[in-house]
């Protein structure tokens, strides 16, 4: 008698859970997040393209090589994504509790050095050795995260500063261990530890020279962290503390304990990230091997909006960038450092969600204004287009003269910056757009004069033409201005 209703209950639960996921995917919030992230990435790619054009690379071939490289070497993408995923989860978990673990790097170093020590100092049976290394790495990371956690919770020391400082301390400490200290590989001139024993190595999968079971471990952590955050009491408490510490405390949650533990668990994930990298790929501890993985973890978490599945997406994206970066270097001759530039730009754009909102709001306003007032709107639209053109060409046009004339380069930069002001002033429908347009065209004339005197005929003619166009547009705007005011009054 009792069993039937229970099964029905479970079924309805099941379907409602499915509906929940479905609703979430359809919800406005989720869509706007996706929209913001996509636009941010696109804007980062556009700005990176401008930098590429300005420095004499071809962005089209660079991006196609980047994409192709990521697709062709998908095993490398997953390999690169593995530590990013774990470090990203680490940062995201702490953030759920309202804490910024900016020193994931240090926990990663502490975890990996501890795992390396167990890896080469003890001879253990095959399966046990791997697990022992993982466990000790996670533990070391946990403790190194717990320390700033306790300091934050019970002594009020801000975690951004303490984790950062402890991270640098960890780098120096491990450097000592493998250079002058007890873990230095005897007879080696480099700062490295001995190789870990084969029993501690994590095996490769799919016959790939890069991809290993480490990715599977990292991937399994995603649902695990998601479950922990969303379905367990402690995860709930941590989120509550993150949302509003005071309210959580009033509700009887031990905020301090949760904060300390959240940073500890975050450190454990970072420790795991370092450990699996050593066990699956490096097999020994090199001084400074991670090259900013902890920092990459922040970018991944930021891009994934601190949700575990979002972090997976972010890790795959940046993993793709990293794997494609080396392909881009060999096939499109664009230095792989470009990837780091893109990464930084993505973070900067994601950091400012209001920029996207601002752009879409004013973009729509601008478009409808042009539609309603074509007479004054069209010159403004031209000026807007002129701004975009000059923002590009400002740096590009003076390119040939970079080697000889520094002032010309500065002028070009000035034009590019000023052109951004043209775009902004037009978007917010500010009257000053005509003056700025005028100023920019004067700058162009200056560049033209400099170009002709320095025998750069191409620069001279281009700037002369652009300057003239600017003057015409500026005069056009000024001529139609009275009607602009009338038009606006008419609307109001």
């Amino acid at each position: 008698m009792n069993q039937e209703p229970i099964t029905i209950d479970e079924q309805s639960n099941e379907s409602s859970r499915f509906n929940q996921v479905f609703d979430k995917l359809q919800s406005r919030e989720f869509r706007s997040t996706i929209f913001h992230t996509t636009i941010s990435i696109l804007m980062a790619l556009v700005v990176a393209a401008i930098i590429m054009v300005a420095t004499g690379y071809d962005p089209l071939s660079a991006y196609s090589a980047l994409g192709l490289g990521a697709l062709l070497n998908f095993d490398q993408v997953l390999w690169k994504a593995t530590p990013l995923l774990l470090a990203g989860l680490s940062v995201a978990l702490a953030f759920k509790c309202g804490l910024f673990n900016i020193g994931a790097e240090g926990q990663l170093y502490m975890g990996s050095i501890a795992a390396t020590a167990v890896g080469y100092m003890f001879a253990l049976p095959l399966g046990i050795h791997i697990i022992a290394c993982l466990a000790i790495g996670v533990l070391a990371g946990f403790l190194y995260g717990l320390l700033p956690g306790i300091l934050r919770a019970y002594r009020g020391a801000h975690e951004v500063v303490t984790t950062m400082m402890l991270s640098y301390a960890a780098v120096k400490f491990t450097q000592w261990l493998v250079s002058e200290g007890p873990m230095h590989n005897p007879g080696d001139s480099r700062s490295v530890s001995p190789f870990i024993l084969e029993t501690a190595e994590i095996g490769k999968i799919f016959g790939s020279p890069f991809l290993s079971w480490a990715f599977v471990i990292a991937f399994l952590c995603v649902p695990l962290v998601a479950f922990f955050i969303n379905k367990t009491v402690m995860g709930y408490e941590m989120r509550a503390v993150g949302l509003n510490e005071e309210a959580a405390r009033t509700a009887g949650i031990d905020a301090k304990k949760n904060m300390a533990l959240a940073l500890g668990l975050s450190g454990a994930l970072s420790g795991l990230a370092g450990t699996v990298e050593i066990q699956s790929y490096y097999h020994r501890f090199y001084d400074g091997w991670s090259a900013g993985l902890g920092f990459d973890g922040i970018t991944v978490a930021v891009l994934g909006r601190n949700s575990p599945w979002g972090v997976l997406g972010g890790a795959l994206f940046f993993g793709g960038l990293k794997a494609g970066g080396s392909f881009m270097q060999t096939n499109a001759n664009v230095p792989s450092e470009m990837v780091q530039v893109i990464q930084g730009l993505v973070v900067l754009f994601v950091a400012a969600p209001k920029l996207v909102d601002w752009l879409s709001k004013h973009g729509i306003g601008f478009a409808s204004w042009i539609k309603n007032n074509p007479k004054s709107g069209i010159p403004s639209l031209f000026s807007f287009g002129y701004g975009i053109l000059c923002a590009f060409l400002g740096i590009v046009a003076v390119g040939p003269a970079v080697e000889t004339s520094f002032m010309l380069l500065l002028l070009g930069l000035l034009v590019s910056m000023g052109s951004i002001a043209i775009i902004v002033f037009n978007l917010i429908r500010d009257q000053r757009s005509s003056q700025i347009t005028m100023l920019i065209s004067i700058c162009w004339f200056l560049i033209a004069i400099a170009g002709f005197t320095m025998q750069f005929v191409s620069i001279g003619t281009t700037s002369l033409i652009l300057g003239s166009i600017g003057i015409i547009i500026a005069i056009w705007i000024i001529k139609t201005r009275p009607e602009v005011i009338q038009g606006q009054e008419g609307i109001e």
């Binding site: 300091l151 002594r155 450097q175 970018t299 900067l348 209001k354």
Partner: protein, 316 residues
Amino acid sequence: MQYDPFSLVMIAWLIKTTIQFSTPLVLTALGGMYSEKSGIVNIGLEGMMLIGAFSAVAATYFTNNPWMGILVSVIAGGALAAVHAIITVKLKGDHIVSGTGVILFATGFTTLMLEVIWGQRGVSEQVTPIPQLVIPGLSEIPFIGDIFDSLSPIVYMMFFAVIISWVVMYKTPFGLRIRAAGEDPSTLDAAGVNVETVRIIGVILSGCLAGLGGAYLSIGYGSRFGKLMTSGRGFIALAALIFGGWSPIGSFLAGTFFGFLEALDSFIQLTIPALAPYNNFIQMTPYILVVIALAGIGRSRPPKAVGVPYEKEKRA
């Protein structure tokens, strides 16, 4: 070759090196002070230093004039800081995330441009550094002469910047506004001052000073740019700022102390090679000290409204 650690020459050398190493730290910490005092967390100092160091060398390389390099480094640091300012103040973005973006961008951009301009990875070509300032007659005096014999003019700029910053911060209306923006922005707003403008100026100033600090590394102390040449000095400067309790004099003292630790590192290598293997522990000291200072009696107190975006109250 081993030197006597207690000879007068070596002590003078230690003091001189301390001054040299602390210059970029103090300049950047002072910069960080303007930003943090106005209420904007600036962990991007490292990136601003890096871009300053790079642009100083690049500008010197193209113009053959190191003074132009200094000017450009200040502008470049300020420009990068302006991006941080727009994101954090105008667009109310997260300060730490934006700072991280600034660091990543600066790291990638400088390494990229290193390859674009000089076609090589790692280091740039040598450029003319800033001429050292030799005060005539001073080098004749035995002990003091050894210290102040030939120092970069940026070192003197640093001393000057400390004094100016103290005067600006505590004796001028502008300093009062900066401090108010960080402690109690709504009062400042009620007094009819635009909080956002004050904060933006604070952040840009921080970038300018950090850029100058970076320029000292590349064309003041050395004469070329190396990949990631700041190597965490931006964070040590941040540590000095916190350790110094967010004040100009405190930043100066803490920065000098951290510079002393860095100098001690080289000093030990020259004089007591037996201790050299433990240098890493000296290098760790600034970081550990800051953690202790923050965890200790809580004497290091940040500005109250730091990290909190200021939303102007809407008229009803």
